[in-house]
């Protein structure tokens, strides 16, 4: 369990990293926290010829309070984001999701951008970027672009990022005023990858009807998935347990789960519905408390 031979570069700046990527792109991997990549390399499941370490660039951890959300530099560790007061105030669902990532030792090294780019469909941060309409700031030696989260995740561990591109920041949009959130996942042990997870945000109008709904599932398909059918069933309706139970049945529209050593695809589908009901119920009670 030793990695195959590779050449290591320590990028001194983002521009430097982009230059290295331009030179070595197809055969290179960006190293940030290394919490997934190093394990994959040790198992020789990943065999990059070049490793470009971006964890030493200037001020790797940066969190900015912006008008429409919170911008987090990709190399920010999950632990710093988790404990950041701006994140906790404006994006409490994100702060809660961060607590579910592995254990604190891993969050001390793992980065927000790294987890998103790794695109494990069962992990929390890709799901959060869908839930919070995130915008990804992406850079290459020749170009800069902004990509919406919904265009980013292609399939299992695969994103729209090109081999010469690097994710430099993520803008997580703040949900509407007076909204509430819910997040539920089932993992075999605390800190394990979720077998199934569901996250929801709900806002209510003055009449108490659902004016905003966002439901995202993870661990149930090759990418995190937004359950728009569930959202549509909620919008304009009076929220109740019965409505949630009925709406959550529509998770089957997006669940395309596989079986693994832990649970079957059927389990994932059933539990996705259960957790969606719970996430919606939590979101509602938080929304009611906020109104």
């Amino acid at each position: 369990m030793k990695p195959a031979n590779f050449e290591y570069f320590r990028a001194t700046s983002l521009d430097h990293a982009c230059e290295l990527l331009r030179a070595h792109g197809d055969d290179a991997k960006i190293l940030a926290g290394g919490q997934s990549l190093i394990a994959a390399m040790n198992y020789r499941l990943a065999r990059p010829q070049f490793l470009i370490d971006i964890s030493n660039i200037d001020s790797p951890s940066e969190i900015t309070d912006e008008s429409d959300g919170v911008r987090i530099k990709a190399t920010t560790t999950q632990a710093i984001a988790e404990h950041d007061p701006v994140v906790r105030r404006r994006l409490p669902v994100l702060a809660n999701a961060l607590e579910h990532i592995a254990h604190f030792q891993i969050r001390n090294k793992g980065t927000v951008g790294g987890s998103i780019v790794n695109a494990d469909p069962a992990s929390e941060l890709p799901a959060m970027s869908l839930l919070l309409d995130a915008e990804f700031e992406i850079q290459s030696a020749s170009d800069k672009q902004v990509m919406a989260a919904e265009d980013f995740f292609i399939t299992y561990m695969t994103t729209a990022l090109q081999s010469d591109e690097v994710l430099i920041s993520i803008l997580f949009k703040a949900p509407p005023e007076n909204s509430g959130w819910g997040l539920h996942e089932v993992a075999r042990r605390a800190g394990d990858f979720a077998l199934v997870g569901s996250a929801a945000i709900i806002a209510l109008d003055d009449g108490g009807k659902c004016s905003f709904a966002r439901v995202v599932l993870f661990g149930v398909a090759s990418t995190p998935v937004r359950a728009t059918e569930v959202e549509d069933a909620l919008l304009g309706q009076s929220c109740s347990d019965a409505l949630f139970a009925e709406a959550a049945k529509k998770v089957s529209e997006v669940v395309d789960a596989e079986s693994d050593v832990h649970v079957t695809d059927e389990y994932r589908g059933n539990v996705a519905e259960v957790l969606t009901v719970r996430a919606l119920a939590d979101a509602l009670s938080r929304a009611q408390a906020a109104s």
């Binding site: 030793k2 075999r188 042990r189 394990d192 990858f193 050593v261 389990y267 539990v271 259960v274």
Partner: protein, 793 residues
């Protein structure tokens, strides 16, 4: 039977909850493991392993690998064709020995089997070279399930055998058919226990170096350095006295390291061939693929009951999944044979019959792991009892109380011919019930306010401990096992205990010192225990099977008593007193009743070695203060009880463990803190078996979860505090009244857990009683939905 030695004098050390002397080094990072042994010029070994579960090797292509500029050597079965064969003289059943070649010859039989050993300057390079090796395989049908491998038309995994079954035994006592015919209720179930791995924190590892004085030194992360030395001598044809085996600090073994693995012969052989130090440290993937697996049994269990819960008969067929080989030396028999011979447990079972079948499959071999045999066997019996309790409208506690062997019935010989020395099962059970608030919890509603279900479960076990020859024989393995210890006092009165056992987490450096200090009458600090090195100890079998406190402790008592008697004889001469009138207490020898007439142990020791004028004539008393004594005790049977409280989410199948209570009777305790540690560690691993662990092979024989990401073991977040309590009934048979404690703690937590699940679901249509381990969320939902349950025939 020889009467145990009465420990003379004042009890100051045995029974003291002392901190372990070995811990500071471990905690401060000074402990040296195999991988910390550094010798200049060491080459590293990586193994090329089979990627097929069952295939013929048509063509092994080494040319590209040999052409690598840093490739020192590649060894295959062509160069080293030795192997180990099942060795069990005197077993009752029919045994067809199975050969395990150290390097695969023409055929591979599981994924992970070693085909070639690559020697290179570093492990990194060695793995690069391994990547260059190719094989043309001719694949053969791979067997994952014993019941497929047992079919008459199944392909043979070992072609020199007539079938894939290599051991079969049957036993009967009483009139089982009559008992079943007349019983009020017969419950028959199929029980399937999952395949686990002990997964110690330190993986295995071997280093070997050949000396130009024709000596071989081997470091291995083993539990049994002396038997390994003998085995290397026999298998490599090297004179045993020229071999030194060192087990440095070992980070846990749990029985898994009480085997001999192919690498423990390959590395010494390579060192001898190339005359250079070589090292191999197992990585976690290799560990999960090819360090002995454990506990996978398919059990058909039928128990006949009377209406009042009395067990009148038991019928068992236990099919052991041996994996591809018979893991040397204990073999794949170990799980099922021990399970069946201990089937009655704590209960009077007048009529019993069992069949034991050991079958080969295309998976890693199974071997010893804490609680060998009983974890699976007890689970089967107790789950059937739980189901019966429900059908009879009783609590399992009622069935326990009805069928327990009573405290006044000891010594008690079970219907499977095991002789239990002592115990008070009712007392232990009642203590566990009381501490766990069992009865009051049972009266509460199962449902909680937030939609969860509460459950409480209890379990009771008897554990055969102290594997010497007699324990082994009572378990169905007529092996020869015993131990020897040397106790020696130096001229300054300090004491060295030279043990053939080996502490790799058990705290023996502390507990054996406590026993020696007690027996000799010296301060604890005056004793040091040397173990884990064949150059410094006395020949012994090592530490496994709950044996070391009893056999190690007993041989220390014997040897230390001899030294004490010698010391007193010399002191009597020096002090002009009668030896029988002398007492030793904390290093001071005095005339009983006149404490002012005293000398120190150090003074007498010094006189013994250095003052021939003061000591007795050497023709009368030889002026040495050492003794070497052997011990092969009668079997002692510990017992105990676990209770587990859970909260179940009935919609996701997720279990939360709320409380674990453990009560144990291991006889006299040498160090209660160490016993508590064993109870907590064992309970954690028992919970692992019950809740999480299952090594899963797919139909083609690939291990699907060869990493800690997917093979889950309990961690700090899984476990609540484990509440421990003790009942003490000393063994009347063993020196010191000790019984073993190491494995017991693992024996029934998984049962209590499954009983808690059955309890949580007690208001559902059923009875719903789990018949599998582990009970992960999938298995829980399957139970709730009553699908995919094992089907009894």
């Amino acid at each position: 039977m020889k009467k145990p030695i009465e420990i003379a004098g004042v009890t100051k050390h045995i029974g003291v909850p002392r901190k372990r002397t070995e811990d500071p080094q471990i905690l401060m990072g000074q402990a040296k493991y195999v991988d910390d042994i550094k010798l200049p010029g060491t080459l590293e070994v990586a193994f090329f392993r089979s990627t097929h579960a069952h295939a013929r090797i048509k063509n092994l292509k080494l040319d590209a690998a040999k052409a690598h500029p840093d490739c020192h050597h590649i060894f295959t079965n062509n160069e080293f064709s030795a192997g180990a064969t099942t060795f069990f003289p005197g077993t009752r059943g029919t045994l067809h020995p199975v050969l395990m070649p150290f390097l695969a010859k023409d055929k591979v039989r599981f994924v992970g089997e070693i085909i070639a050993a690559v020697v290179a300057p570093s492990r990194y390079i060695a793995e690069d070279i391994v990547d260059l090796i190719e094989v043309d395989y001719e694949t053969l049908p791979a067997y994952n399930d014993v019941e497929d491998a047992m079919q008459p038309d199944a392909a043979l995994i070992h072609e020199d055998l007539e079938s894939n079954i290599y051991y079969a035994d049957s036993f009967s006592n009483g009139d089982v058919d009559k008992a079943f015919a007349e019983a009020d209720l017969v419950v028959s179930e199929k029980i399937a226990t999952g395949r686990t791995s002990a997964a110690p924190m330190e993986t295995r590892g071997v280093m070997a170096t050949w000396g130009w004085d024709d000596t071989l030194t081997v470091w291995s992360s083993t539990q049994m350095p002396y038997p390994l030395r003998t085995s290397i001598a026999v298998n490599l044809g090297i004179p045993e006295q020229t071999i030194r085996v060192v087990a440095p600090t070992v980070g846990g073994g749990f029985g898994q390291k009480a085997h001999f693995f192919p690498d423990e012969f390959i590395l010494p052989w390579i060192a001898k061939e190339i005359k250079k130090p070589v090292k191999w440290v197992e990585d976690r993937r290799e560990h999960l693929l090819s360090a002995a697996h454990a506990k996978q049994c398919t059990i058909y269990m039928s128990i006949a009951f009377n209406k009042d819960g009395t067990m009148v008969g038991m019928k068992i067929k236990n099919i052991g999944d041996s994996g591809a080989y018979s893991q040397y030396p204990w073999s794949g028999l170990i799980e099922s044979v021990a399970a069946n011979n201990g089937a009655p447990g704590a209960f009077t079972v007048p009529n019993i019959s069992f069949e034991t079948v050991i079958c080969l499959t295309n998976k890693m071999s199974t071997g010893a792991y804490r609680g060998v045999g009983w974890s699976a066997g007890c689970y089967a019996r107790e789950m059937v009892m739980t189901k019966a309790a429900r059908l009879l409208n009783l609590d399992i506690v009622d069935i326990y109380r009805k069928n327990f062997i009573r405290h006044d019935e000891f010594p008690y010989t079970t219907s499977t011919n095991q002789t239990y020395d002592s115990g008070d099962y009712h007392k232990v059970l009642e203590k566990c019930l009381e501490l766990s608030d069992y009865a009051s919890t049972k009266k509460q509603s199962r449902a909680t306010e937030d939609g969860k279900l509460k459950g409480v479960g209890i379990a009771f076990f008897v554990e055969q401990t102290n594997w010497g020859s007699r324990s082994a024989e009572e378990s169905g393995f007529p092996a020869t096992l015993h131990d020897t210890t040397t106790v020696e006092m130096d001229p300054t009165g300090k004491v060295t205990v030279r043990s053939g056992q080996f502490s790799h987490g058990q705290g023996l450096k502390t507990t054996l010192a406590q026993v020696a200090a007690e027996t000799l009458g010296v301060p604890f600090e005056d004793v040091v225990v040397l173990d884990g090195d064949t150059a410094t100890g006395a020949y012994g079998m090592g530490t496994f099977a709950s044996r070391s406190a009893v056999i190690g402790g007993g041989s220390v008592i014997r040897a230390a008593t001899d030294v004490r008697n010698k010391l007193l004889t010399i002191a009597a001469h020096v002090m002009e007193a009668n030896a029988a009138d002398l007492e030793i207490d904390e290093g001071k020898i005095y005339v009983k009743g006149s404490p002012d007439r005293s000398m120190t142990v150090a003074e007498i020791a010094y006189i013994t070695f250095y003052d021939r004028f003061a000591r007795p004539d050497e023709d009368e008393v030889e002026p040495t203060l050492s003794a070497t004594r052997h011990y092969d005790p009668p079997a002692a049977y510990a017992n105990g009880s676990h209770a587990v409280h859970i909260e179940l989410d009935p919609l996701t199948g997720k279990l939360d463990i709320k409380r674990i209570v453990a009560v144990e009777d291991c006889g006299n305790m040498i160090n209660p803190k160490v016993v508590d540690g064993q109870m907590r560690g064992g309970a954690s691993q028992g919970l692992g078996m019950g809740l999480l662990e299952s090594l899963e092979y797919d139909e083609s024989g690939q291990l699907k979860n060869a990493s800690f990401m997917d093979f889950l073991i309990p961690n700090a977040t899984t476990l609540p505090d484990i509440e421990c309590a003790h009942i003490v009934t000393p063994s009347p048979y063993t020196e010191g009244g000790f019984k073993g404690a190491g494995e017991a703690a693992m024996l029934s937590v998984h049962i209590a857990l499954s009983n808690a699940l059955a309890d949580a679901l007690s208001e559902y249509d059923g009875p719903l009683v789990p018949m599998v381990t582990p009970i992960g969320p999938q298995q829980v939902m399957d139970l709730i939905n009553n699908v995919n349950q094992p089907q009894a025939r």
